[in-house]
């Protein structure tokens, strides 16, 4: 075992090159973490420190705490506004990560589920006077229904076709919302109530609600990805046939990913409706779907810290570049190309070690 691993360390540069050459998989940069082999030899101290931070079990709680504490640091209307936008975007990215990152299904119309969520809660709250909280079960049901509707006939398709079909679905939802009277046509729905302000400034109250929901969503999505179903998603992503041969019903598993993604998107839609108070079709166009996907890929598919970072970057960058007018999307576009060329596996790629386990549990067997 020991001499084997020394041998492996020597081979590492070659294996690295080979991996980049062959498939450039997400595991290249941080792949060796937590592994017995000293595979990390080529990495910089900073890189090791970073991967150490990323692997820490305190990372999640710390980030969540920082998110909750934001209003104490800066409570200006603008900061709170864009922070809520960013958090909602994080939730969307985490939801899409289930579909694209875990399960490997290319979805170019994810904004459709976002729209379904926002419109369902918007409709029920403005036309029927439901409190926003009460709309959530209906939103979940509607999102699941949407997932069934589009997933049912299309999940059997090849991945490229899945891309165009999901794109088409996104457009269908948006145009339908634009054309129907019940959804308010092109102006959409407005006057959507919030969750209440709990005696706080209303935007800050909404910020905290959003922060708590999104933190939980990130936690749950990550755990789901490490559990039995999450493993099945990865099996399907890696090799559908092999997964089938193991008795995994790949169609059902893909369906589950689709529906989980839809539910995340739908709930993000509720938050969005509450935050914007007015929703209209342009908010759910293809550009949005593309941006969400970009956040996932930029951050690192399948990696929770990566996807959160990617979402924050994609959502805040255009705000930082505000005032640069048309330059901002030019810079944005060039930046995307540059990042992808120099770091195709994403900013913080998924680790391929074993999931973190509690120290007291000692596993059986050798190794």
């Amino acid at each position: 075992m020991n001499d084997e691993s020394t041998l492996r360390a020597g081979e590492e540069p070659l294996a690295y090159a080979g991996a980049v050459e062959e498939r450039g998989p997400a595991n290249v940069a941080l792949g060796g973490r937590g592994v017995a082999t000293p595979a990390a030899s080529g990495r910089t101290t900073a890189g090791r420190a970073l991967s150490g931070v990323l692997a820490s079990r305190w990372l999640g709680p710390c980030v969540a705490l920082a998110a909750l504490a934001l209003p104490y640091l800066n409570s200006s209307t603008y900061v709170i506004q864009i922070a809520v936008d960013a958090l909602i975007f994080v939730m969307l990215a985490v939801g899409l990560n289930i579909v694209v990152g875990y399960c490997g299904l290319l979805d170019l119309g994810y904004a459709a589920f976002f729209a379904i969520g926002a419109y369902t809660s918007g409709l029920l709250s403005t036309r029927f006077g439901w409190p926003l909280l009460a709309t959530i079960p209906v939103v979940v049901a509607a999102a699941v229904l949407g997932g069934l509707l589009i997933g049912g006939p299309t999940l059997r398709l090849r991945s490229d076709y899945l891309a165009i079909v999901t794109l088409g679905f996104g457009e269908i939802i948006r145009i339908t919302a634009n054309n129907l009277d019940v959804t308010g046509g092109p102006n959409g729905l407005y006057g959507i109530p919030g969750f209440g302000d709990f005696g706080l400034r209303s935007d800050i109250a909404l910020y905290w609600v959003t922060a708590v929901v999104v933190c939980l969503a990130v936690l749950f999505a990550g755990r789901l990805g490490r559990g039995r179903l999450g493993r099945a998603w990865r099996f399907v992503r890696e090799d559908e046939d092999a997964a089938e041969a193991m008795g995994i019903h790949t169609y059902k598993v893909k369906f589950a990913a689709y529906i989980a993604g839809a539910v995340f998107g739908g709930i993000a839609g509720v938050l969005f409706a509450a935050h914007q108070t007015a929703i209209s079709p342009p908010s759910f166009n293809f550009l949005w779907s593309a941006l969400i996907l970009m956040a996932v890929v930029l951050g690192g598919m399948g990696s929770t810290p990566g996807v959160v970072t990617g979402a924050l970057a994609i959502s805040l960058l255009p705000e930082l570049l505000r005032g640069a007018e048309n330059w901002r999307y030019l810079i944005f576009g060039l930046l995307l190309i540059a990042v992808m060329i120099f770091r195709p596996q994403g900013l913080l790629p998924a680790r391929t070690g074993e999931a973190r386990r509690r120290g007291r549990r000692v596993r059986g067997g050798a190794s």
Binding site: E22, I164, L167, E171, L293, G333, L334
Partner: protein, 299 residues
């Protein structure tokens, strides 16, 4: 009846524009399995390149078909070159990366092209200073303008040229070979990089030509004009069977006709819903498109 024929004409005309753009989509996909999202924007850049040439040589060029062809050639060369550059800079370094990263680069390139033009030319639409004749023809009770006729003819000539190129020349053979098995081509000594470059050149030049034609025919161009047609061309390519050139043309014509009839019978605001809805249903019935090859899975 003449109403019916009118709809057919409209569909075919729009379809021929879709086809020129869809061809490039399909060629690039066929050869490196990349959905080149920036392809629609090359169409837009072509329109702006033509506009620049026209503005620069306003006095010299005059009007007429010959001037149009001259402008088109320059624009095709420009967009073709841009396509090659795009592949070189943005896609080649990622050829072995996961396909999603390349897709993101393509979206990034699309943004960069759109807003690059917006910065260079300003966000206002520009107007082509090249009139085409207003004459109208009456065919089987439906009207058809000379301009439409000329544009469709140019499109058909371009498509036939491309088809010949792909079927008869060495590069064309190499392209088809690479789309079948790039590794084997590499082993057989085919210069894969060069062939891919040429594919990008051809596809982009076609899009550029379509851009100029749109500029001349419709008269108005703007920096976002490539987005919608890019989506439509993508749809057309998939309906036809992506990777298959004749399929792309067929898909474009089918899409053009579908849109034309759906506007007439369902209402124009539902046109895209109908087009995409049809696409989804169609793919579930015939997942490889009209002319796509059946892929036998090897286990």
């Amino acid at each position: 009846m003449d109403h019916f024929i009118q709809l057919v004409f409209s569909g075919l005309f729009v379809g021929s524009f879709y086809a020129l753009v869809a061809l490039g989509y399909s060629m690039v996909y066929g050869i490196i399995k990349l959905l080149n999202f920036a392809h629609g924007d090359l169409y837009m850049v072509g329109a702006f390149a033509g506009f620049t040439v026209l503005s620069a040589g306003a006095g010299v060029l005059g009007g007429g078909l010959l001037a149009l062809l001259a402008v088109m050639l320059v624009a095709m060369a420009a967009t073709g070159g841009l396509g090659v550059l795009l592949e070189r800079v943005a896609y080649r370094p990622l050829r072995s990366a996961p396909r999603l990263s390349v897709l993101i680069t393509a979206v990034g390139a699309s943004f960069a092209l759109e807003y690059g033009i917006a910065v260079a030319f300003g966000p206002n639409p520009e107007v082509y200073q090249m009139g085409v004749s207003d004459g109208t023809l009456n065919v089987l009770g439906a009207r058809l303008t000379y301009a439409q006729l000329a544009m469709t003819a140019i499109a058909v000539v371009l498509m036939i040229t491309l088809d010949t190129l792909v079927r008869r020349t060495r590069t064309g053979r190499a392209m088809r070979a690479i789309s079948q098995d790039p590794k084997a081509c590499l082993l057989m000594g085919v210069n894969v990089d060069r062939v891919i470059s040429r594919t990008f050149f051809l596809g982009s030049a076609l899009a550029g030509a379509a851009g100029v034609m749109a500029g001349v025919y419709y008269g108005k161009i703007d920096f976002l004009m490539g987005f919608v047609i890019g989506l439509k061309a993508f749809t057309a390519a998939v309906i036809g069977g992506i990777g298959n050139l004749r399929g792309a043309v067929l898909g474009a014509v089918v899409l053009g006709l579908l849109e034309s009839f759906s506007v007439a019978y369902i209402g124009s605001e539902w046109r895209d819903v109908f087009a995409f809805g049809f696409l989804i249903l169609f793919l579930t019935v015939r997942p490889t498109g009209l002319l796509g090859e059946r892929v036998t899975e090897r286990v």
